[in-house]
């Protein structure tokens, strides 16, 4: 009785470890990946922080708010939202072979 109570408490009070890639390398979900043409990207061209729509709208938090913006392709699911939301059409979805 006491033992099973302890077991329940262990489950209820269990601590899960936060990790990147809880679902694995989600980059393998799609072969199409966003590639940024830096010669078109607004913050790269101006050297000033601006736009960052790709960072803002990415549901996966795989884009960095840096100049230039960088994308973690190991976990990017290839949804294409960043391509749609880039105001200067600097992003294209291309076939990228995963290692």
């Amino acid at each position: 009785m006491t033992d099973s109570k302890k077991d329940y408490q262990k489950i209820l009070g269990s601590v899960q470890k936060p990790v990147i890639g809880e679902a694995g390398k989600t980059g393998t979900w799609s072969s199409k990946k966003p590639i940024i043409d830096l010669s078109k990207c607004t913050p790269v061209k101006s050297g000033k922080p601006s736009c960052f729509n790709c960072w803002l709208y990415c549901p996966e938090a795989v884009v960095s708010r840096t100049i230039p913006p960088q994308i973690d392709l190991e976990h990017c699911k290839g949804c294409g939202i960043c391509m749609e939301e880039c105001p200067v059409k600097a992003i294209t979805m291309e076939e990228v072979k995963s290692e």
């Binding site: 470890k17 799609s30 549901p59 938090a61």
Partner: protein
Amino acid sequence: MVNVMDLPEEEFIYPGTRACAGCGMALIYRIALKALGAKTLITVPASCLTVLHGMQGFCSTKISVYHTPFATTGASASGILASLEDKGLEDEITVLAFAGDGGTTDIGIQALSGAAERETNFIYACYDNEAYMNTGVQRSGSTPLGVKTTTTPEGKLVHKKNMPKILEAHGIPYVATGIASYPLDLYEKFKKARDIHGSKYFHILSPCPPGWGYEPKDTILIGRLAVQTGFWILYEVENGILKLSRASSRYLDPSKRKPIEDYLMAQKRFSQMTQQEIEVYKTYINDMWADINRRIQNQD
């Protein structure tokens, strides 16, 4: 008005979750947590959001999440708050309940109503993908008219519930609507709600590529159409005073709205709708706006 640079760079959800590509819920959750910050405790009922958090052993969020039984979200929030009060931490930590539309408009409505009646000091956010998505698209009380689901194979026969209005009737200090497509608007509203004492309710439309039948890249675009056609109205009600949000204010003028067909025809879930049903939608939207307009006129 907030700018993209005003948002904290820190993320509270790690990449590589179990949510589908292009999931509106994932974006809403990401932005809400940015606004509320690390000092938050979250309670989540069975839903796609449960799945986003992962399986036993590991999780995808940096913030503590309590997985509560389906019908109990509101009650669990009151319980968490009571425990924080006991420890003298209620002013330091924000209690956030995050639930789907099934978990909010159907199965969790009584627990939510109870928490609001108790004036529990928390934020309740419903992300509304307009069906029970996690179990394979069954209709909920929030599924709109005409939508094909596995339990409404010919299209739903009645309109969705107006959940924000139901919560407003509880006399709570803050009610807001939102949508994945306007993340800055969402961010501003969550930040505001965090500093208001009492029960705060969010109803956030959450485009869902597999459940609604469109390409994952179009999540933002579909949500924008919901606003531009007048189907989804962005507003907040603070102490009973309704204010249209920036993105929606121009659609008070019907001539500014895009035809509702633009929204409906872009999604497979509406594909079997008849012209007659589309006409019903036009009246529905006009009525919704007339109601909002009447309120705005009578406030000042």
